[in-house]
Amino acid sequence: MNGQGMSTAREGKLRIEYAERYTLSSALGSVSCVRRPLEGVGRLITRLAPLVAVVALLVAPVCSQAQTTLGTQTLYLTLQNAVNMTVSPSSVSLTHTGTTFSNFTSASSITVSYWVRTTPSTGSGNVQVQAAEFTPTGTGGPVIGSSGGPLTYTCSGATLGTNCSGNQTLSITTQTPVVTSIPAGACTGGGGNCSSAIPNTVSTSFTLTNNPAYKTGSYSSVLTFTISAT
């Protein structure tokens, strides 16, 4: 820090008679700040208000010596229930090996990553899945239908809530459970009342009956996972 004076002129009218330069040095570099007499600052702000505002904003964080407490303000933040999710991978092949007509199973599991915040006391949340019919439709391939279809799945490893148990049968008309019982006041990350996992995850694996009645060909079905919370 040094007190060497500095003169600056703007538009040939303002002249700062005295100012102090503060230089803060560290291994990462140095930052210089200027503190000027109050009587000159008023005029400067009048003429150079925009510039002063910008400089003040830029300099404020690193020049703690120049800060003046003007007052206090209480910030109120209302956190509401919220959710977000990603599904990976975006596509999975159902394959079968070994014995003929053994079922098709997903080559890899589908992982649902989810973030959730539920309302304290009364809130809850869940993750569900619903399938769209295999396409192309009407060509003799597998048909999921509204109930009792050939496409089933299992869930494992939910890090928040309870993953579905046993084999679940997919439907094209109703959502079926993946994660249930996400409790009130739940939140993702941070530990304590919240989960330690960030994000929360659950794995799903799918099985398709290998019915000889299926015509040969390639078919696909889009799965839509939905997370909801109150």
Binding site: T86, S91, P212, T216
Partner: protein, 178 residues
């Protein structure tokens, strides 16, 4: 001023109510599957006993049952069930598929299948070549969940020249699909 206060209260109230609403988010993944030609067969009669009934020197007969599943390609596909005697009757002086005591001696069979086209006439089993049980065309499918049923009814010449005794042979069934 009163209006402003009312508006503020309404705003706070609506914000409070909004907190109770259900929020949702979605993500998708696509499952894909390639269904190919495939075939399998299960012999449900593990051991078939050939027995002679009625008039003396009637042929020895018996039935072997099986189930099968088959799916042939939609374009240019086909399928078949065939059999071959892979182990001839054991012992000497008895019946033989590969080397019968007399030229008229033979192991023949007739066929039934729930789908496809079963052999229409009696076939003669061989130890050196497969013979037909059934054939399937393009885009053929077995129907039943557990597999379609089929059978082979055997007939073995009852040649007086055969020495008395017990003899056994092994027939191997093969199903294929393209």
């Amino acid at each position: 001023m009163k209006k402003i206060l009312l508006a503020a209260v309404a705003l706070l109230l609506s914000a409070s109510l909004a907190g109770a609403a259900t929020v949702t988010a979605t993500g998708t993944s696509t499952l894909s599957v390639t269904v190919s030609n495939e075939a399998s067969i299960t012999i449900t009669t593990g051991t078939t006993t050939l027995g002679a009934t009625g008039t003396v020197f009637n042929p020895y007969t018996g039935t072997t049952n099986f189930t099968y599943k088959i799916r042939t390609s939609q374009t240019g596909g086909s399928g078949s069930i065939q059999l071959e005697v892979t182990t001839d009757f054991s012992g000497t002086g008895g019946p033989s598929v590969g080397s019968p005591p007399n030229s008229g001696d033979a192991l023949t069979y007739t066929c039934t299948t729930a789908s496809g086209t079963a052999c229409s006439t009696a076939q003669t089993a061989s130890t050196t070549a497969q013979s037909s049980v059934a054939t399937f065309g393009t885009d053929a499918h077995s129907v039943a969940t557990g597999g379609d049923a089929g059978s082979v009814t055997w007939s073995l010449t009852n040649d007086p020249k055969y020495k008395t005794g017990s003899y056994s042979a092994t027939a191997t069934f093969t199903i294929s699909a393209t």
